[in-house]
């Protein structure tokens, strides 16, 4: 591809998220094209804080194992490394260990003995507080300065890794790298950066391919993409030979889940694509030039998740025209009645509680008033959510509310209505409310400061 003598680095990105469904035929194609590395992201903050707070995966073990089996088989045969970022959805230590155990299990099944590097980036509360006391933690909008109480609230805190610990592990001969929380871009950019590909090209390629085939025309018709990264340009090609990339499909991906379409802040710098140029060089392939990497002092983004109050929910369906013809009045009357019921039956013991009613089929998603001329829906689903300090209290509130939630009448009702419960028992304990608590960056002395690398060499373990 490149006009100079630099041989492009070929990165096989099998899927947007490990466990989403890597395809064997696509992997075969990518390997045949000379892939130097298989690189994939395995997580995101996108689906909320529960996965970091609990240290659990979003994808089930079976689907992650299936994808890893496909990748490990192919990589082992082709003798190329696999790098995985944000292991186990959240990239906390527990999430990394969960993924490690799957990899070891697969290695046993395949009869292979890879050298595995685990890159942990979870931080202790003491470390975070000490850095904060040194004035080396800065808030990102809309957050304010960090205080110790917020740090103490968090169940797990991770720092998003850059490419450096991956490069160190690759240099040391890792066959498989399982990273903790990592920027989506860094995990795809680490190998080309190591091999001397262009900084702007490597980082921009990483951003474009972070969601696999999402930067292609037929986003559902294929899982992965191939990146060829040179000094001043990179190319993107879908791994599915019936799919294609266009300048529009590729450039539009810079918009995805990104608040600024031109600048992307990463550990150690900012990717600037303001002047990037996207050209169709083949019916399926797009070449990108003009990406710029501007080095900055090294920072890592912190993510922290906490579990807070507990919730218990109930759900009824209502088709009763009396309710549907005056649905906002029904909502207000019900909410008032339920709060009154809790005050009267539980009283002060209920503590700082909240009851929320969401009218699915009417305005549950926005919570906003519906325009006056809107005709009544055919039915609504009413979700009851009680939030309280403990699970027991949330459930006690739900049980106290149950008779009203089930039977509350409107003035027009001639007898007591019974709304349509979907389950018995009616109340469902949902567990805690999980929230992200940090939106800060920590200034680092050097890129490896917060990384703990652990090696598992299955060849050596077998000998021992």
């Amino acid at each position: 591809m490149a006009a100079d003598d630099f041989e492009s680095i070929v990165v096989l990105v099998p899927t947007g998220s490990l466990g989403a469904g890597a395809r064997e035929d696509e992997i075969r194609y990518g390997i045949a094209q000379g892939a130097h590395v298989i690189a994939t992201d395995a997580g995101s903050t996108d689906s909320g804080a529960a996965y970091l707070a609990l240290g659990i995966s979003k994808n089930n073990k079976g689907s992650v194992k299936r994808d890893l089996t496909v990748l490990m088989k192919a990589a082992s045969a082709a003798d190329i490394p696999i790098v995985v970022g944000t292991s186990g959805q959240a990239g906390g230590d527990m999430n990394v260990d969960w993924t490690r155990d799957i990899v070891i299990e697969i290695a046993g099944e395949l009869g292979i003995r890879p050298k595995i590097a685990l890159l942990y980036s979870e931080l202790s509360k003491e470390t975070v507080k000490a850095k904060n006391a040194e004035g080396r933690i800065r808030p990102l909008a809309p957050m304010g300065a960090l205080d110790d109480a917020t740090v103490d609230d968090c169940d797990h805190i991770v720092a998003a890794l850059g490419p450096e610990p991956y490069i160190a592990a690759l240099k040391a001969g890792a066959d498989i790298i399982l990273g903790g929380r990592t920027t989506d871009t860094a995990v795809l950019a680490c190998y080309p950066l190591w091999k001397g590909a262009g900084l702007g090209a490597s980082w921009h390629a990483g951003k474009i391919a972070e969601c696999g085939a999402q930067c292609t025309v037929k986003t559902t018709d294929g899982a992965g993409v191939l990146l060829r990264i040179g000094r001043d340009a990179f190319e993107v090609e879908p791994l599915s030979t019936v799919n294609s990339c266009t300048p529009h499909s590729v450039s539009a991906h810079m918009l995805y889940e990104n608040s600024n379409p031109f600048l992307l802040v990463e550990p150690g710098g900012v990717l600037d694509v303001t002047n990037a140029d996207y050209q169709q060089v083949d019916p399926r392939v797009v070449r990108v030039t003009g990406s710029v990497w501007e080095p900055k002092p090294y920072t890592m983004k912190l993510e922290g998740a906490s579990s807070g109050q507990f919730q218990t929910i109930m759900l009824v369906g209502i088709q009763d025209p009396v309710v549907l013809h005056n649905i906002d009045a029904f909502h207000d009357r019900m909410l008032g009645a339920l709060n009154e019921r809790v005050r009267k039956t539980i009283g002060a013991a209920a503590g700082d509680f909240n009851i929320s009613l969401r009218l699915y089929g009417w305005n549950a998603v926005s919570g906003e008033k519906v325009a006056a001329e809107t005709p009544p829906p055919r039915e609504v689903g009413v979700l009851f959510v009680a939030t309280a300090a403990t699970q027991e209290m949330a459930t006690q509130i739900a049980k106290a509310c149950n008779p009203y939630f089930f039977h509350m009448h409107m003035p027009e009702h001639r007898e007591m209505p019974s709304y349509g419960f979907a389950f018995t028992p009616a109340d469902i304990e949902r567990g805690p409310v999980y929230e992200f608590r940090l939106n800060h960056v920590v200034e680092c002395d050097e890129p490896m400061e917060f990384v703990r690398t652990v090696w598992i060499d299955l060849a050596l373990e077998e000998e021992a």
């Binding site: 903050t45 996108d46 809309p142 909240n354 926005s366 919570g367």
Partner: protein, 103 residues
């Protein structure tokens, strides 16, 4: 008189991390992009009214090559709170569709 729905062929919303929402408005012509992408009707005040956003934290990025504008704003409450209605913010664009652009 034109609404967002009249002049865009695609409007979508998504969270950009737990604290920000980003809305992409793809206009159906370069003319409409030029005429409306910086409209006051797509300014901070509208986002304050529709989403309870802090007007100081509403940012607009026109992308002329794609005839689109990206508008990002800080969520009024962080993702996944006690009264969460749209965890991934994928439904937030709907409130913009009927916004009148010819002020």
């Amino acid at each position: 008189m034109a609404t967002v729905n009249d002049v865009c062929h695609l409007v979508r919303s998504k969270n950009a991390g737990p604290y920000w929402v980003t809305i992409d408005l793809f206009f159906n012509s370069s003319q409409n992009f030029a005429r409306y992408s910086q409209s006051e009707a797509l300014g901070p005040k509208t986002f304050e009214q529709l989403f309870g956003a802090d007007p100081a934290l509403v940012r607009s990025f026109p992308v002329a090559k794609l005839d689109m504008v990206k508008i990002s704003y800080a969520r009024s409450t962080p993702q996944g709170g006690v009264v969460e209605r749209d965890l991934h913010c994928g439904q937030q664009f709907v409130r913009l569709l009927d916004v009148e652009l010819d002020l």
